[in-house]
């Protein structure tokens, strides 16, 4: 159905837009920037911060452009005297309640309110300072919540509800006492929060930020007794460039060079353990299928991926009766930790007690994951510190490293080799694609029947994707899979995950294998990624990931020579005794309400 066109004038320029377009969007088409705070492209309209007000000729009041649809013949002024004055007042009012501790604030230079007040230079305080000094909630290992910096735009509440279906945060109390809070104002660590950090990624100020461990990591680097290794997730390498104003870009080589200049002793790759995950998880899936189809055992199917710690905690809270469906594989980050402190420590002749494992992740839930009591397979805390992509950006800035001018460098060996299958773990559908590339080949001895190994049906930004692969002409030991149509599904963002889980639970949908990533777009849209993140940026990061995959010589996890080696000399076989001890885990049912 084609939409009607609406003609209007913005700042005396004619524009014709679709019916239902907001004034804000229409102005963007003419390249007029209207400032916004509560508005976010990923979220529904709120219209509560009022900084986007514009003048509509003939209308006494100033409408909020983000919440007002265009109408025929409308004349809008985005920067009239009246608008400027109103906007200044609005910014001043917001500042009068804001704990403007800018010089010491973690978000200084990245804060949308600060940017706006810099732009408008409101001058002297015209309103009484009524800011409050709250205690900061640092109960969670992932998220820091400081109400004194909150402007009550409710982006976080909408994120938690719309994108994630979690609703750990809500608007509570009223009037001057109104705030964003949890159930009974409990600490963040005691509520249904999944630590996904999508709220952090959307907070315009520093009311919600990640718990940052920059100083602890620098302390470890400077400690001569410590041997500090760093692992980097797939999705950080296409987004770290954004921290230096370079847009989403493949910058693996520059990132490795920067990490070396920061003083890490060895620069290693989570992608190696992503390949290992595929071996373990792929074998687990085939084993479950065999148990179900041949042995007639009661096996939890569909099997679900377990790489995304936000998704894991969501499942523990919301669907505690489906924990058996989760793969027992630890995430690549948590496979890396214990291997670094056992296998690797032995190879390089280091005492694991003197080792510090740091990981750079697009994720805030990874901080919580590393803190889980079960993540001590090596006898030590397997992963000591988790940094977000943003924190790494900050460290590189602090160290005075000119990121753009760095020459590409390579990961150290061992634990630095990876394949394209591991890189695509960063995208929604990526784990599925990597698993299919390997599992299909194990079972049939042939490559997956998709051009250039690109399994297109599992790619893209659709909320829930389904695909099926017909398995034919299998090797003799897999004869029970002959003719089986392997059905898979993929969801990203926890709202989509919840929809999919309800379908599975009700029996409406039937699959063998499900991939879920907690964040929209997968890890590339993670809560620890550079701000802003929106659909356009997610698509660019995803494209960069696929490009990286295509440029790698090896694109199937089972072809990673280091993976072959570790099975030969250390783990012996997937799902073997050592794997069980170091690479697999269990889950804890938690309260839904």
């Amino acid at each position: 159905m084609s939409k009607y066109k609406v003609n209007l004038k913005i700042n005396n320029l004619n524009v014709s837009v679709d019916e239902g377009t907001t004034i804000l969007e229409a102005a963007r088409q003419l390249n007029f920037k209207i400032p916004t705070l509560c508005h976010h492209d990923d979220l529904c309209v709120a219209g509560n911060c009022r900084v986007c007000v514009v003048e509509q000729v003939g209308n006494r009041v100033l409408p909020a452009s983000c919440a007002t649809p265009v109408s025929e013949g409308m004349e809008v002024l985005t920067n009239s005297m009246k608008v400027r004055q109103a906007r200044k007042n609005i910014i001043e009012l917001l500042l009068s309640e804001h704990n403007a501790d800018c010089t010491k604030c973690f978000k200084s230079g990245y804060c949308e309110l600060q940017e706006l007040s810099n732009e408008y230079r409101t001058g002297d305080h015209i309103y009484l300072d009524v800011r409050t000094n709250n205690t900061i909630d640092i109960s969670s290992p992932s998220i820091e919540k400081d109400d004194s910096k909150c402007i009550r735009c409710q982006r976080c509440v909408r994120t938690c509800t719309e994108l994630q279906s979690v609703s750990a945060l809500a608007v509570t109390h009223k009037g001057k006492d109104m705030k964003i809070s949890t159930f009974l104002d409990k600490p963040m660590n005691d509520v249904v929060c999944t630590n996904c950090g999508q709220c952090i990624n959307r907070c315009p100020t520093a009311s919600l930020v990640e718990r940052n461990y920059i100083d602890q990591v620098f302390d470890a680097i400077y400690d001569p007794k410590k041997f500090v290794v760093v692992q980097t997730a797939p999705a950080t390498r296409v987004a770290i460039s954004e921290e230096f104003g370079l847009g989403p870009n493949r910058s693996t080589g520059k990132m490795v060079a920067a990490l070396r200049r920061l003083g890490f002793d060895k620069i290693l790759d989570t992608d190696f353990t992503a390949d290992l995950t595929i071996m373990e998880e792929g074998t687990e899936l085939l084993t479950r299928l065999k148990e179900a189809l041949v042995d007639g055992k009661e096996v939890a199917l569909p099997m679900m991926t377990s790489c995304s710690p936000g998704w894991i905690k969501f499942q523990e809270h919301i669907f505690p009766d489906m924990l058996d469906n989760l793969s027992t594989c630890k995430s690549p980050q948590q496979m890396f930790g214990p291997l670094a402190k056992t296998y690797y420590a032995e190879k390089i002749n280091k005492n694991p007690a003197d080792m510090v494992v740091v990981s750079v992740m697009p994720c805030t839930a990874k901080k919580y994951e590393a803190d889980r009591p079960e993540m001590r397979g090596s006898g030590y805390k397997d992963v000591d510190f988790v940094l977000t992509t943003r924190e790494l950006g900050r460290m590189i800035h602090q160290a005075g490293i000119d990121f753009e001018k760095l020459d590409d460098e390579k990961y150290d060996s061992i634990l630095g080799e990876s394949t394209g299958a591991a890189v695509i773990f960063g995208n929604t559908g990526g784990v599925m694609e990597a698993a299919l590339r390997t599992a299909y080949e194990i079972v049939t001895g042939r490559e997956v029947p998709f051009a250039n190994l690109n399994i297109k049906p599992v790619r893209g930004m659709e909320g829930i994707k389904e695909a099926s692969v017909k398995i034919k002409d299998v090797k003799s030991e897999w004869s029970f899979l002959e003719g089986v149509e392997l059905k898979v599904a993929i969801a990203h963002g926890l709202s989509n995950a919840k929809l999919l889980m309800n379908k599975v639970k009700s029996g409406e949908a039937n699959y063998h294998f499900i991939e879920v990533m907690g964040c929209p777009g997968g890890c590339i849209g993670g809560g620890g990624q550079p701000i802003p993140t929106n659909m356009e940026i997610r698509k660019k990061r995803a494209a960069a990931i696929y490009e990286e995959d295509e440029h790698l010589a090896l694109r199937k996890s089972h072809e990673n020579p280091e993976v072959t080696e570790i099975y030969k000399s250390f783990l012996h076989e997937p799902l073997g005794h050592r794997s069980h001890d170091l690479l697999h885990t269990h889950y804890t049912p938690r309260k839904r309400y």
């Binding site: 979690v166 609703s167 750990a168 945060l169 809500a170 608007v171 509570t172 109390h173 009223k174 809070s181 949890t182 159930f183 009974l184 509520v191 249904v192 839904r592 309400y593």
Partner: protein
């Protein structure tokens, strides 16, 4: 199933298991329990399949929906400007003296809570006192004490 869980279940049967039923269920629980306990809010969230933060957020918006325990009889004295000018402070002082509690507290026997309220719409007959749903206009410290003593006589 506890008493309050049963109550919530019954109310959800009457009003429906959707988000729109939140207000009537909250009101029913407050009517019966005088406040919303954590247990009650969890039960409501479960019945309506919404988050507990959502239930708390809604309840905390309303002054008459308390989330901390309250006495059997809730006394609210209007605190807004007309009643203030007509001497609500003296009324409160007399009640504090009688009940041996401060504003915002409950008596140790659980019989009374003493609170202030925003405008009750009785400015022409201030100061006004509300006990549960009963309005007492043009109260004086003496008449307020008499009213409370009547309540004290009841079991």
């Amino acid at each position: 199933m506890t008493k309050v869980e049963e109550l919530v279940k019954k109310e959800a049967e009457i009003h429906g298991h959707n988000r729109e039923s939140l207000m009537p269920i909250l009101q029913a629980v407050v009517r019966s329990e005088r406040f919303l306990s954590e247990e009650a809010m969890v039960a409501i969230a479960r019945e309506l399949d919404i988050s507990t933060a959502d239930v708390f957020g809604t309840a905390s918006f309303y002054t008459f929906m308390d989330t901390v325990p309250k006495g059997k009889n809730i006394i609210r004295v209007c605190k807004t400007i007309t009643c203030h000018m007509k001497g609500k402070d003296a009324v409160i002082a007399a009640l504090e003296d009688l009940l041996k509690i401060k504003l915002g507290e409950n008596t140790s026997d659980g019989k009374f809570s003493l609170l202030q309220a925003n405008c009750l719409g009785w400015c022409h007959k201030g100061p006004v006192m509300l006990i549960n749903d009963e309005v007492y206009p043009e109260v004086t410290p003496e008449s307020a004490v008499e009213v409370i003593q009547e309540y004290l006589k009841q079991k």
